[in-house]
């Protein structure tokens, strides 16, 4: 049965791909996730333990629940994959519409306590483990080994900027204007990056996945084409933004519960418009702004009793018993800075009240402090200092409004240009410090 479309296309659809065997119409700017949501196909997998339906949620490549199988390759992020004619997209971890494993959610109404469930007798435990291992995990192995051996590219940029969002682009422009165009690495594919202000030296569709301070290396990779990038920069600016954490509400995992910010950005990137009814759940000025850009009613989390729906979200039940019917629920939490790379680089990390963030000075400079984790502090003290300076801009540096983001970019650019004017330390001092 065709489902009611939730997002109107910007023009006539010209691309057709297959979802679970059936054709789906899409537009050139679409990702797999935007085309599926537009078509009302909200569920893409079942969850690891309770076997509940899940679908695209953060719409930003972060959450891991839009993983689908594309042309025989597992665990592709639907929200970061541009649509292609005739691509074959399949759900994962599900055995069809009447999946018998969905009963797990009904049978274990009070939850699965893996510390005590069938631990004794041992024979029952072994059988139970066998079944659980069969059901758990994410995706199945690829149909075939990859056709191409992954490539390798080494970079030694003067400045590496990680992230080509608003703050990354503004910083890159400021440095380029002063004669120091940085290398900018962005995990979203080029097709998903609109705007005329794209940096001149841009690696798009390439995710920085690690900082290895001991090896004095940053590492990034793309999957299509498969390439590993090894980066040894003199200066690193983290413009990685923030994650949208979940808001703990009953049934906050239903397909159709998405990030408000992810939805706003997705509409902007694809040119699609909402034909769905949306309710925004969140508090404060930012949530209000997101609700108004979605022309949606907003309710604070404290007023929500539960989200309702079975195979997808159908509404928000409030504490007074009223139900707001809707097709999508957009969560607008306080964003949590994406601190992970900074932590790997050895930055001191603190809790901001909304999430974790590196400690920065007024210019956004991150001190090369001891590693955040007490168990690793000893090693950090004996390790040589990293051969780069490290900076944060935008949301990672604590900014929330566009004016604050601009402020962090301006101060970081000025300080970084001063640092660039200094001669680099002799290489031997790195190697033997």
């Amino acid at each position: 049965m065709p489902k009611a479309p939730l997002l109107a296309p910007p023009g006539p659809p010209t691309i057709s791909f297959r979802w679970d065997g059936a054709p789906v119409a899409a537009c050139p700017g679409d990702t797999v996730a935007s085309a599926l949501i537009a078509a009302g196909e909200l569920a893409t997998s079942r969850s690891a333990k309770y076997r509940r339906l899940r679908g695209p949620a953060c719409l930003h490549g972060g959450c891991g629940t839009c993983l689908v199988r594309i042309d025989g390759r597992p665990n592709q992020r639907a929200c970061l994959t541009p649509v292609r004619e005739d691509m074959c997209v399949e759900p994962q971890n599900t055995y069809g519409g009447l999946d018998p494993t969905a009963l797990v959610d009904q049978v274990f109404r009070r939850g699965i306590d893996h510390h005590h469930l069938v631990v004794y007798p041992r024979i029952a435990n072994q059988m139970m483990q066998g079944v659980a291992r069969e059901l758990a995990g994410f995706g199945e192995l690829p149909d075939a080994p990859p056709a191409d051996v992954a490539g390798l590219v080494d970079h030694v940029p003067e400045v590496l900027v990680i992230g080509a969002g608003r703050s990354g682009r503004a910083l890159a422009a400021a440095l380029a204007a002063a004669g120091h165009p940085p290398l900018v690495v962005e995990r979203r594919p080029a097709a998903a990056l609109g705007g005329a202000d794209l940096p001149t030296r841009l690696l798009a569709g390439v995710g920085v996945f690690a900082c290895y301070p001991q090896e004095r290396l940053w590492a990034a990779a793309s999957e299509q084409p498969p390439v590993l990038h090894r980066l040894r920069p003199r200066h690193v600016v983290l413009a990685v933004g923030a994650h949208e954490p979940t808001i703990p509400l009953a049934n906050n995992d239903l397909p159709g519960v998405v990030s408000a910010r992810g939805l706003v950005d997705m509409l902007e990137q694809t040119g699609r418009t909402l034909s769905a009814r949306v309710v925004v759940i969140g508090e404060g000025a930012r949530a209000e702004l997101l609700a108004s850009s979605l022309a949606a009613e907003r309710v604070p989390p404290a007023r929500v009793r539960k989200l309702i729906g079975a195979r997808r979200v159908k509404g928000v039940q409030l504490d007074d018993g009223r139900t707001l019917r809707c097709d999508l629920v957009a969560l607008a939490p306080d964003p949590a800075p994406a601190f992970e790379l900074a932590a790997q680089a050895g930055a001191p990390i603190h809790f901001t009240g909304a999430g974790f963030a590196p400690v920065v000075d007024a210019d956004g400079r991150i001190a090369a402090g001891p590693a955040a984790h007490p168990l690793e502090a000893e090693g950090a003290q004996t390790a040589p200092p990293p051969p780069w300076t490290l900076w944060a801009v935008g949301e990672l540096a604590g900014a929330t409004t566009p004016a604050e983001i601009r402020g962090t970019v301006d101060r970081c650019a000025a300080a970084l240009l001063r640092a660039l004017a200094e001669p680099p330390a002799p290489k031997d001092s790195h190697a033997r410090a």
Binding site: C58, G151, A221, E223, L228, H243, Q344, I349, A372
Partner: protein
């Protein structure tokens, strides 16, 4: 469908399971991760870590200044074994001065 409140959707860790961990005397992020599996799925904590931190602080189980995240290990982004294998060569000489 059973009404459940999720803190970690990757590993299906519900608020009830966090409550059980707290009732067992656990009060910091690392302990609760180890007890429940929270944060150990594909998103590696991007969705749940700060939600857990806020919950522990709101209940006065830990002071904000004492709160630490679990260790952020590579990979932050998904990466294939094929791409990792491509790096099994020596780094070229650093051409910078």
């Amino acid at each position: 469908m059973t009404a459940r409140t999720f803190v970690c959707r990757c590993e299906d860790v519900t608020l009830t399971e966090i409550e059980r961990a707290i009732a067992a005397g656990l009060s910091d992020v690392e302990e609760i991760k180890r007890y429940t599996g929270l944060g150990t799925g594909p998103c590696q904590g991007k969705e749940c870590l700060s939600a857990l931190g806020r919950l522990l602080v709101a209940r006065n189980l830990i002071a904000p200044a004492a709160l630490r995240p679990f260790t952020a290990r590579p990979p932050v982004e998904p990466v294939t074994f094929g791409a990792l294998a491509a790096g099994a060569t020596d780094l070229p000489e650093d051409p910078s001065p």
